[in-house]
């Protein structure tokens, strides 16, 4: 990623990319990603706060300004993964199996979809679908950056988006109250 530990520490008033500059540029979109992952304001806020603090303390030197975004997204995603792995020590077998499954044939999201309800359905997805799909809907993030952030191959990103959208539709069509439970790990 072209990021390496170094000094001096980037500071709020420091040289490019200063923390304040990075904060102003990316905190809103980073929060949306965190919200898509965590599904609630408090957890999303904690993730964003921790990611920025780590950025400020890390002393990273970035070759391109866009790398700050990738660094923050990657860090936030790892923080989130660490949280859910603490609850689930072993990675799900489902993830690897799903990567080799046939392509989905589930129903699609309805045309009259309510966006808020779709966000609630997003929180019902397993993490390995939730993260790429949230990034997919954050239009500013190119596919290759999604792969970099999630540390998975580009092809896997594409297949998870496709399957994630199909799963999202299945959840959306389920006759129950969405958003009532916490996001799945």
């Amino acid at each position: 990623m072209g990021i390496k530990p170094s000094t001096p520490t980037p500071t709020v008033e420091g040289p490019f990319p200063g923390v304040r500059e990075v904060f102003d540029a990316y905190h809103a979109i980073l929060y949306r990603f965190a919200y898509g992952l965590a599904g609630q304001e408090a957890d999303a806020s904690d993730l964003v706060q921790e990611a920025f603090l780590r950025y400020a303390r890390s002393g990273v030197v970035l070759e391109q300004p866009e790398q700050a975004r990738a660094w923050l997204f990657t860090t936030l995603h790892r923080l989130f993964l660490r949280q859910i792995h603490q609850a689930r020590r072993e990675p799900s077998q489902e993830e690897e199996i799903l990567d080799h499954e046939a392509l989905p044939t589930e129903p699609d999201l309805p045309r009259e979809l309510d966006g808020q309800r779709a966000l609630a359905a997003l929180g019902e997805l397993a993490e390995h679908y939730r993260a790429p799909l949230t990034l997919f809907y954050l239009e500013e993030i190119p596919y290759r950056e999604i792969a970099e952030i999630l540390e998975i191959p580009l092809g896997t990103v594409m297949s998870r988006i496709s399957r994630g959208k199909a799963r999202l539709a299945s959840i959306y069509h389920e006759p129950r109250e969405l958003g009532a439970s916490s996001p799945k790990p």
Partner: protein, 274 residues
């Protein structure tokens, strides 16, 4: 291409992402132009995506969050860089900095260490106490210290990994040298565990790997600049350590990387790089 496959491909398509337009995607897009039903479906998909995207775009961080973060960043402004507080702190906490001679694992290896170091002193280096160590010392000492490849399995205090990328990431995030520039044959191995150690006050990244033919092995990565014999640090080279164990070493990313396959008498081929 059947319509279901075309739909599966097109579900992941975003109009602003031409860089990933593969042949399959091109074919699916072409099919959508020729198939009115598929075209209508794709149009609905785009509309639905736009609604979800718009809903997500309306999610704004709470105003209090901005104040809290900026206040903490201001507090943090004077702090020195702290690589241990990087993107991910895997257990145990990064940079334990325990001298290698205090490691429990080294106690069980003390006898062999003495033999190895003794041979090293006699054969390879008439002046081992010079300020900058020599590669031969590193080979002799550090690999013995890091020899976690026995049947006892990995020692405590590391992190299980499943790929080179993950191994590199874990070590990098802890501020330790990570594997780079693996020769092709080495890259075939699958990392399964990383840990760290200190060798003469220098951080060493330790990656345990399983090679499909050669079994379990230990890869060490250390900053190249600490060594006194820079003439040795050229490209990739095959060594035999003092106990006769073949090892492969190479220099990449400013670090020396060495790997031993203690269960085999033949060193792995060294042709090609990753």
């Amino acid at each position: 291409m059947n319509p279901e496959r075309a739909r599966a491909i097109l579900r992941a398509w975003r109009e602003d992402a031409p860089s990933v337009e593969t042949a399959d995607l091109q074919a699916a897009l072409q099919q959508s132009r020729e198939d009115p039903g598929l075209q209508a479906w794709l149009s609905e998909q785009r509309e639905t995506d736009a609604r979800v995207r718009a809903a997500l775009a309306r999610v704004d961080p709470p105003a209090s969050l901005e104040r809290e973060i900026l206040a903490q960043l201001e507090e943090n402004a004077g702090r020195p860089a702290d690589s241990a507080d990087g993107p991910l702190a895997f257990p145990p906490s990064a940079r334990s900095r325990r001298p290698f001679w205090r490691s429990p694992s080294i106690l069980s290896l003390a006898a062999s260490m003495l033999v190895l170091v003794g041979i090293g002193l006699f054969v390879l280096d008439p002046n081992p106490l010079e300020a900058q160590p020599r590669l031969s010392e590193f080979f002799a000492e550090a690999h013995s210290q890091a020899d976690l490849s026995s049947d006892a399995g990995p020692a405590k205090g590391g992190t299980a990994v499943q790929s080179w990328t993950q191994a590199q990431s874990v070590l990098h995030d802890q501020g330790y040298p990570s594997p780079a520039g693996m020769p092709r044959e080495i890259a075939r191995a699958i990392p399964f565990y990383v840990r760290t150690l200190e060798w003469r006050d220098s951080p060493v990244g330790v990656t345990l790997v399983d090679h499909p033919e050669r079994g379990r092995a230990v890869l060490l990565s250390i900053e190249a600049e600490i060594f006194a014999n820079p003439h040795d640090l050229q490209g990739e080279f095959l060594r035999t350590s003092e106990d006769g164990t073949p090892l492969v070493a190479w220099v990449a990313d400013g670090k020396v990387h060495t790997i031993v396959f203690p269960q085999f008498s033949q060193a792995p081929p060294t042709d090609g790089s990753q």
